[in-house]
Symmetry: C2
Subunit: 456 residues, 2 copies
């Protein structure tokens, strides 16, 4: 049996930031916000404002998503929250009413599954919003609260809304009290959340800052309970660097593969890449890489984990935590397309951040979370064409999904590599320079004698 | 058709303050508090502490309740709240996890209905907790919030946890932001709450401070929607004085009949009554009443409303908002029993606050919310005997439930009245003095010629 879910190796993910994708026609949950008080869709996003995108809007655009070749959606958080990004959870058992509530998710899962699209949700289990029920109980009742040991409280009254937090909080942000996961009731709660939504029908969990719950046994139990409900559920952690600790087969299936994205940007982006912009985000300072250094990075990465894990990694260039792809590449369409094409030909499941496929621009948060553009005349069609083309290629060639990586040629801005699986092989050549390259490369027995190569 | 639900005329209500009735064995909801952090059951209650009573405990004691003759329970609020009294609602669609969550209520309703016991819940719709989702959204996002018009906000940032509230709040208490019920989304929400729990299976609503929603159309719509779901649902408002505005047949079925309770205490309590204690509660300054003045008060009250309403009134002596009956009567058992007996023989449905039936003591809030005593050796058995006896009498005599009130004799501490319905009549005599009274009273055609009186 494979260490990781098989479907992930065949998956191409589309990441959706729910408040910004589309405001669909459908009932809101309770309590309902006032639609007329949403910010204008096209206006520059603000840190605290809402644009009113919802799950009904995603349902309306499932055919758009499918047509581009995506067969999985990874959603930024959708549970009830006071923040437009919803990383500040107030109720883990309720889809945010603004998004349409649990009813909209039920419908979305049905409609997505009918189209062969899987649904992965974001779990933020290390901390919650200061508006969370258990935390509010302490806030109101102080030492009289029976929820005291849900958090790490250092004094009373709680300084939740003024001054420095006197309780453990994520990055000392008083908005985000950290759960005390050594308390049994808290573990039960969080693991029940994980089970509940798997039972509800989702296909996996993306785990937000899981390293902050510094307790392997927590994630081991998380895996056991989730896989008991659905052995094919995908568990992917937000680990930005070396993830060996979590990828031993007993915790996560995979991680968000930022190192791969950084390498691709460093290789394809070259001097075009806006490194200062990248450096202000979680991407950090990105080095320019020549082909050989780039390939070495990849090879190290692929050697680091079991091949079942490598092919199930969530590979990405950008996300809600980084600037937009086209902005990082200073609107260079060719490099944008090349970076995406590489993403689709390397081992691991490609993930595209909504809007990158049409060339949506954006710098830092919240600018990287603009309202999706639905006026086609504003789309960068060549990017869409690349996305569509590469998806078809990947779907048509199992070797691109499961094949080993073999470097064939790597010099300066020129890279050629093969993907090899059983009796199939596929060669990819990349030229990051402005001048044309007519690659002449040794094929080192990539194909068996007598086989014929075909240009795809 | 009757203006008010028929079953209420046959009802004897038992009021339960859920945190203090009984800690039963059953699963808590999510997020679960830590049982070991509850206050000791027997300790003096504190303003902010929890004793961990729950709905499982009520289920365990349904037979106790039924055996005492009660056939309806009126619960203080049970929805998710940060306060032990739960008047600070944070989620109107969730039974508090500490009480066992929605699952416990579902079970309670089933078990109660099987025993012929109806269930009335407390609706606090004027305001909510500052922990409520919509309010928290404004607190976190200020003028960027799409929930702005859910409340009456006068400035930013909200002073919810320090200083004076800059938004409308109940009695200017920043913990309790007042809903803006002129906003359609808010009305929809609150009225949906009302419908939801009726559909869930409850038998009626007790409305907390309904006069604060100064809008007849709100309560008219409330009635229409509730009665559309269940025409026999009981709607009883917390109106402490003249309630004609709400008792025209288009808003409430009845009110909590505090004026009747005050009159009974003034008459039966006499000089024994602790008036200073009463005066510090909502009962206000209670006048001592002689029999004639007492009867006049009653007669005025009964004339004020339609008879269908009079017989559906929720008559009470004490509640979670008053000191305990036996404490008000300075532990005078005879007067305590007499007051309760009067309650059971007057027109309107009697309501007894949990614990009063065993002589539980208690002064001001929170002392009037002590943990129920389950050690029978500590019970005041004579009160229980009276309660049981009077319940049987009332259940056996339809005239006590529907019969008109007719004063026969009223002088000093002596009162005699008849309850008359169709061809039945029943005479009640009350002596509030210490000396025995052998009443010789004219029966003014109470009985038809030839009928025989029987001593019950």
């Amino acid at each position: 049996m494979s260490l990781t879910p098989d479907w992930v190796k065949d998956a191409i993910f589309y990441q959706i930031f729910p408040d910004r994708f589309r405001q669909g026609a459908g009932p809101m949950g309770m309590p309902a916000p006032l639609r007329q008080d949403f910010e204008p869709w096209e206006a520059t996003p603000t840190l605290r404002g809402f644009k009113g995108g919802n799950l009904w809007g995603v349902i309306e655009k499932l055919d758009y998503i499918r047509e581009l070749g995506f067969n999985a959606i990874y959603f930024c958080p959708i549970f009830a929250s006071t923040a437009n990004h919803r990383y500040h959870t107030t109720d883990y058992f309720q889809v945010d009413p603004m998004l349409g509530g649990n009813e909209a998710l039920r419908r979305l899962i049905e409609e997505a599954h009918q189209r062969g699209i899987r649904v992965v949700l974001d779990a933020v289990l290390n901390h919650c919003s200061r508006g969370h029920f258990a935390f509010q109980n302490i806030l109101e009742n102080g030492r009289f609260s029976p929820y005291l040991r849900w958090f790490h409280v250092y004094g009373f009254p709680l300084n939740a809304y003024s001054g420095k937090a006197n309780y453990a909080a994520w990055w000392d942000n008083p908005e985000l009290p950290k759960f005390n996961t050594s308390t049994q009731e808290v573990r039960d709660y969080l693991l029940r959340v994980a089970e509940f939504w798997i039972e509800f029908g989702i296909d996996g969990w993306r785990l937000d800052v899981p390293n902050e719950i510094n307790d392997d046994s927590f994630w081991q139990e998380f895996r056991r309970r989730v896989k008991a409900k659905n052995p094919q559920a995908y568990i992917v952690g937000e680990i930005w660097d070396d993830a060996r600790r979590w990828l031993q087969g007993d915790q996560f299936d995979a991680v968000m593969n930022y190192p791969l994205g950084r390498a691709v940007l460093g290789f394809v982006g070259g001097e075009t890449l806006d490194k200062d912009l990248a450096a202000k985000s979680g991407l950090g300072r990105i080095e320019s890489l020549q082909a050989l250094a780039f390939s070495h990075r990849l090879e190290d990465m692929f050697d680091r984990y079991h091949w079942d894990i490598v092919t199930a990694q969530m590979n990405l260039l950008t996300s809600h935590d980084t600037p937009r792809l086209i902005t990082l590449l200073r609107k260079d369409l060719k490099r944008t397309r090349l970076a995406l094409s590489l993403l689709y030909t390397l081992p691991g499941a490609p993930m595209v951040y909504y809007g990158d496929e049409i060339g949506l621009e954006g710098g830092h948060d919240p600018d990287n979370r603009r309202g999706m553009i639905w006026r086609e005349e504003l789309w960068q069609k060549p990017i869409l064409d690349s996305i569509r083309h590469m998806a078809r290629l990947r779907q048509g060639q199992p070797v691109l999904r499961r094949g080993k990586y073999q470097r064939l040629y790597a010099q300066d801005g020129h890279l050629a590599f093969a993907r090899i699986h059983e009796h199939q092989a596929l060669v990819v050549t990349v030229n990051t320079l402005d001048e044309p390259w007519k690659p002449v490369i040794p094929l080192h027995g990539v194909w068996a004698r007598g086989q014929e190569a075909r240009d795809l």
